[in-house]
């Protein structure tokens, strides 16, 4: 009888439209935040932070972005990696050019640049959709990869072609660079996820979110009731690319420290797409769950055999990973197209009635 809504009456529309209308949900979320901000830094070791939590958090930001574009607005995009690269390289150029500028501000500005690029590559979406749009976004992906590879200005003429995050501080703490501790980087990434998830949730329950879903569900009818398709789609591309750009900057500054274009290639685009399909298209929670899943499975695959005494070579586990991901995509699309987030919702429904079966 834990998860009962009885007695929780909404007396204003404001209460009805809250993000977490059920009190138990609110309590859980607060508890989760406390655990994430306070308990985890005390308990987690370096490996967990560096190899699991930080990449999971950063992937969540990218997954949120792609979910807004593909899950909510229905625009297929395979250019996620490219937009992340824009964020990373922009942040690098900006901070090397103006070292005094606050690093968090630089992340946001890089996001804006990525948003502008996303807007440009989103223009075809007025006339094309589905597979055709996917091809146009592939153009973005491959072109941007080539750009950051070939135009040496982007990596400050460094002969190795890689870009390295210089050390930067925020509020007196070393946030990036070799001195920055995993804990600090984790907390910064966590904060980005919390803020960006909050913003995403606000967007999807407002007018802009509804117009995205309208365009996704019935774009001709949407235009007839007064929605402007180009503005709506371009906004989706811009916001989504903003998220992906920031995620890319975070990859460089908070996670890898040093990247080359390979870190943002077409496989990344597919990976983020898998996150939102498995996690749940059109669901904010789904993006985060999907990111967690896709981050954990490869780690699990590399470590689990060792734990039970089997030695598995690296490329074998990569192949198994591909098989599992591909298989899971098919499984979810067939069995539960709305992904893990829907399974979670079903679980909550069951919990509502627990311990009664119906």
């Amino acid at each position: 009888m834990l998860y009962r809504e009885a007695g929780q009456f909404k007396e204003t529309y404001r209460q009805d439209q809250a993000i977490f209308p059920v009190v138990q949900d609110r309590v859980c979320v607060v508890a989760l935040l406390v655990v994430a901000y306070v308990v985890v830094p005390l308990v987690a070791n370096e490996y967990w932070l560096q190899a699991i939590l930080i990449p999971f958090l950063i992937s969540s930001v990218a997954a949120l972005g792609l979910n807004l574009l593909t899950g909510y607005a229905g625009q297929v995009s395979l250019g996620t990696g490219g937009f992340m690269a824009v964020g990373a390289y922009t942040a690098y150029k900006m901070t090397t050019a103006i070292p005094e500028l606050n690093i968090l501000l630089i992340f946001l500005l890089s996001g804006l640049v990525a948003a502008a690029i996303g807007l440009v590559f989103g223009i075809p979406s007025l006339r094309i959709k589905g597979l055709y749009l996917a091809v146009a976004t592939l153009a973005a992906q491959f072109f941007l990869m080539w750009l950051f590879n070939r135009v040496a200005w982007f990596y400050n003429y460094n002969p190795s072609g890689t870009i390295t995050a210089p050390p930067r501080t925020f509020l007196g703490l070393m946030v990036t660079g070799p001195e920055a501790t995993a804990t600090v980087r984790y907390l910064v990434a966590l904060s980005f996820v919390v803020v960006f998830a909050f913003i995403a949730k606000n967007l999807v329950r407002s007018e802009i979110g509804r117009t995205w879903m309208a365009i996704r569900d019935m774009d001709v009818a949407a235009e007839i009731i007064g929605i402007r398709p180009l503005t709506t789609k371009l906004t989706a591309f811009a916001v989504s690319s903003f998220y992906c750009g920031v995620a890319g900057a975070l990859v460089l500054f908070l996670y890898l420290g040093s990247v080359e274009t390979l870190a943002f290639d077409i496989n990344v685009s597919f990976q983020v797409l898998f996150m939102i399909i498995i996690g749940g298209l059109g669901s904010i929670l789904g993006a985060i769950i999907g990111a967690a899943f896709i981050t954990i499975v490869p780690i699990f695959l590399t470590n689990a055999p060792r734990l039970i005494g089997l030695a598995v070579p690296v490329d074998l586990s990569k192949n198994i990973e591909a098989i599992i991901f591909g298989g899971l995509i098919l499984f979810f699309l067939i069995v539960e197209p709305q992904g893990l987030a829907r399974l979670w919702q079903i679980g909550k429904e069951k919990l509502r009635r627990w311990p009664f079966p119906y």
Binding site: P124, V135, F143, R150, A221, A322, F325, G326, I329
Partner: protein, 313 residues
Amino acid sequence: MAIGSSLAVLVAPFADMVASPIFFAEVVVGGLMAGVMYAMVALGFVLIFKASGVFNFAQGVMVLFAALTLVGLMEHGLPVWLALVITTAVMIVLAFAIERVVLRPLVNQPPFTLLMATIGLTFFLEGLGELVWGSNVKKLNLGIPEAPVDVGGMLLNQFDLLAAVTAAILVAVLAFLSQKTSLGRALRAVADDHQAATAVGIPLQTIWVTVWSVAGIVALVGGIMWGAKSGVQFSLSLIALKALPVLILGGLTSIPGAIVGGLIIGVGEKIAEVYWGPLVGGAIENWFAYMLAMVFLLFRPQGLFGEEIIERV
């Protein structure tokens, strides 16, 4: 001043083309040959789309999978003809499996879902293929002479010529099947309207298995050609991604369009790379096809030969 010199830079290659026409012709022919390869992949795609309305993102990986299986069998000592037979059988079994496991459960889902499903299938098949046969580059030796042949002053590869002829035959056969036989008619009916087709008694499942098998065989032919030319390896599926721009140009539903689109992309890419590539650091080939397709999409979304897409409200 800067505008003038950049214009000169853009225009200079045209002068080069005129200055050495034989070289230009060789580049064009080289592009045509590459285009034939792309067209092979696109062809399988068109077949499946025409018959089931499914965007088979996995067509490229089917090429890789077929080639891997063939080469893997040959490496185990099987003679070429036996390996071919077995690989063909494998592709047919694959078609059955895909129809049963992927297509049937998703039959009424929107195209978006089917696209995602074929993306999942791509990764699955890639992992499986490399798991079973290993991921190092394999050479596919078909016993075709390497010596180039002189045609009108240009030096052409015998293999390329053979590939072009094979492609032409394949297209002719497929076009004939599509237009003149009852099977072709049934395929076109299914492509138009699944429910109506079943209403007149066309067995949907059989059609789908047939189409995916044929696409699998086309993939095998493509895989053989690609593999013999550049070795069987993972990057084959990346090249196969390039089939998408080909389809955009040619039209998703047109068999001749796949060829024409392939040739245009092949030639365009080669010319861009050879003449303008050195000016900007090379590797234009990575994105030129996609950019070309994107520009095309803005002006003629249905491609050169495709059907116009009309939406009803």
